[in-house]
Symmetry: C2
Subunit: 454 residues, 2 copies
């Protein structure tokens, strides 16, 4: 019996080794196809340069949806369609401005109104500036805020190695700062940009008003201007006049753009891959999230080109409205559940198109271990790290609806917040091979999940 | 006895675990100091923007040496000095030009004379172009080359994941192409730039003439122009006139810039860390190798700031003349050996200042394993990979002289050959945190080698 087990073990090892070799050969084929014949970079050029910023509700959103459907159709999936969902329609409405007055001098600050914020209109709002570093400090100063403009100057904590942790640590001031200030009578809010860049570009992004308080205007300010303001306030009082024009138009029709490859063995078990098609208006939405969009398309292209017939049905989804509503992700998960589609796995690429580091998963301990077990197959292409806790704003709804295991593609994070939601998030900031290697890792992971389950 | 061994084993584990905790705490202190108070980025700004390109023999080389010594001295090492060595003194001598004539049309090509090449002078050289992809093809066409200009159009092989392998595969055409063409009577050589960028910047770099053949002019051409030329030659004949002005002035005095921390336990056992101070003339030498230089300086700064007293003597070396002679590296190794300094380890950073991947070592199998054993301590800072075979052009001489184990700091390689030896290798292409995380990994490795030996 012992001998028998030993023999089986050896056979098992041989089998595993054979399977691993087969897998590494197929992954090498994926890599060759993407690195030698990849279309992601050309697709990205069209999306960013010919369409540009494409916030939910904008004319560019419509163009981008039409473009996405056309590109999908050209790759001959089993199905491609638009999935309708209502989306919010916020518009910037004009050129955001802020002027600081100190003594007899004035200085123009580089600002962008926060997404979803209500504009001051052309009369602007004015007030003396009260700087706070934290919400605790805001509470301590709550009696001094009436008629003032609150300046949240909470910097990224440089000790975090993964910059998304610094973002998570700071972003509450962008999201909730305006309403917290309004609660104590402030007339406007200025937020230090969610960035650690060395330039002065302001970074927009969504805020959420608390309906209990007045919806005061709110802007993000560039880091150099934030530091200047901080220094100036140490020397004396500063007043600021802000003019912003943001407002909502009625909700409008948007779409998730979807392609599908039908599964040969488990047609009603789904794997979803996606990025989001919308992007903030001041830039081209290259890394956020043009790269996730074109990587998703590239996965369909490579599977079709290699003649790969998946066991499970695979969905390629360009989600609508991630930036200021996630209505696309909600809609997709609701319909999936209503249609009794069982989603076994979903992967989102929405952390930029930088050089690969690996994947981060929200799932069971077993699922984590299974992913980690594939790491040696991905590591030759840069995907050497497996983390816990990842996913994506859009696919998060599948996890909530169906407990679907969800993962986020994890590129290197150091450069992301230099350009996230800022005017320098443009095509030129994307490196062709980094983008392609991301697609290689994503395609390899999907192949493994499809082959072995999760 | 068994019990005793078990107890010892447990104690051993406890000891190892305690040591690992101690190490990870100290490495965290290194990281905090560099990420919160780092000076590498500011140093790089001065080196690139105030000094600029600093080829051996140039006035900027002298400035850079003086600057390096001053910065070292300001950090109060036990010693800091200039180590003299004679360096070659090649100058570009003018503006490199190439004009292609086809039918009745002309097109100007973006070219840079290769380093060490002899110029044509203002009369230029002209000839019909013969394109070859490889040296084999050159041999096959050897009877057609008299009076011609050979165009080596060997692209980077995109299948290589680590781009230095693609460089290694292609760089022979830059190094030896001119002489191989001259052997068969060609009057000039044009080499497809050693790059895979999406722009048209030409990339210079050293050639080596074979003294058996005529030293014909040679230039690198941008990739878009190379592709254009390739296409044009499919349609008909193309003649090119090249004008270059490169020549050598007499060898001159250069210096390695060196700082030292004296070892407390093994003062005559040395660890050397370095980058090279020289850089090609068309750019600022930011990633090649300004980043290696300022990381080397940063390591001295962090050890001094944390009050770290090394067991071994540590040398911080800014090497002279890596680009077209490696005279600095040779001199350093010769003097080390002549002075009976035993070098146990040397580390060079000369693959750019991009986000960390890990280290690559040339040493024994045991040394590789020891390095790999430390990987888990470096991985939180990005250094998750350990490879075989690395080092650096300058420290390679220590390996030859003393069999010193040598390692190369290994940043991500995808962006490097977009700017290597090209005019876009400028300060703005360096990300502050990527640069700093490189220094964190390097300092951590040196701390471990110093503490545990190698």
């Amino acid at each position: 019996m012992k001998k028998c087990l030993a023999t089986l073990a050896v056979l098992g090892l041989v089998f595993v080794s054979h399977a691993q070799t087969e897998d590494s050969i197929f992954i090498r084929r994926i890599a060759d196809e993407i690195l030698l014949n990849g279309k992601a970079y050309d697709d990205l050029r069209v999306l960013t340069k010919q369409i540009g910023g494409r916030l939910a509700g904008s004319p560019q959103m419509v163009k981008a949806e039409q473009w996405g459907l056309k590109v999908f159709q050209s790759l001959h999936p089993d199905k491609a369609w638009l999935q309708e969902c209502m989306v919010p329609h916020w518009v910037r409405g004009g050129k955001d401005e802020a002027t600081a007055s100190f003594g007899k001098q004035k200085k123009s600050l580089d600002v962008l109104a926060l997404g979803n914020s209500m504009g001051s209109g052309s009369n602007g709002v004015s007030g003396k500036v009260v700087e706070v570093k934290t919400f605790q400090e805001l509470e301590a100063k709550k009696d001094q805020l009436k008629g003032k403009i609150v300046f949240y100057n909470y910097p990224f904590n440089q000790r975090f190695i993964h910059t998304f942790e610094a973002y998570g640590d700071a972003v509450g001031y962008r999201g909730a700062g305006a309403s917290q200030a309004a609660k104590y009578g402030a007339v406007g809010a200025i937020v230090r940009s969610m960035s650690e860049s060395t330039d002065n570009n302001p970074h927009t992004g969504a805020l959420r008003y608390d309906s209990n308080y007045k919806m005061i205007p709110a802007v993000a300010v560039g880091l150099k201007d934030a530091d200047w303001l901080d220094q100036q306030l140490k020397q004396g009082s500063v007043a600021i006049t802000m003019k912003t024009y943001g407002h909502f138009l009625p909700d409008t029709i948007g779409h998730n753009v979807i392609a599908e490859l039908k599964g040969s063995q488990f047609p009603n078990e789904y794997i979803t891959i996606g990025g989001h098609l919308d992007s903030w208006d001041p830039a081209e939405g290259a890394h956020d999230d043009g790269t996730g969009v074109v990587q998703t398309i590239e996965l369909l292209r490579v599977f079709k080109t290699l003649g790969y017939h998946p066991k499970h049905s695979i969905r390629f989804v360009l989600f609508a409205n991630e930036e200021n509503g996630t209505r696309g992700g909600q809609k997709y998960a609701q319909e999936a559940t209503a249609n009794k589609e069982r989603h076994i796995f979903a992967l989102e690429s929405d952390e930029g198109g930088f050089t690969p580091r690996g994947f981060s998963i929200t799932g069971t301990a077993e699922q984590f271990q299974k992913l980690k077990g594939w790491q040696s197959l991905l590591c030759p292409y840069g995907g050497c790290e497996t983390e816990n806790g990842g996913g994506g704003s859009d696919i998060g709804y599948l996890n909530r609806e169906q407990k679907t295991a969800v993962a986020g593609y994890m590129p290197d994070s150091q450069r992301y917040f230099d350009l996230h939601h800022a005017r320098n998030d443009v095509f030129e900031a994307v490196n062709k091979r980094e983008l392609e290697l991301g697609a290689v890792n994503m395609a390899a992971l999907i192949y493994l999940v499809d082959k072995y389950g999760l």
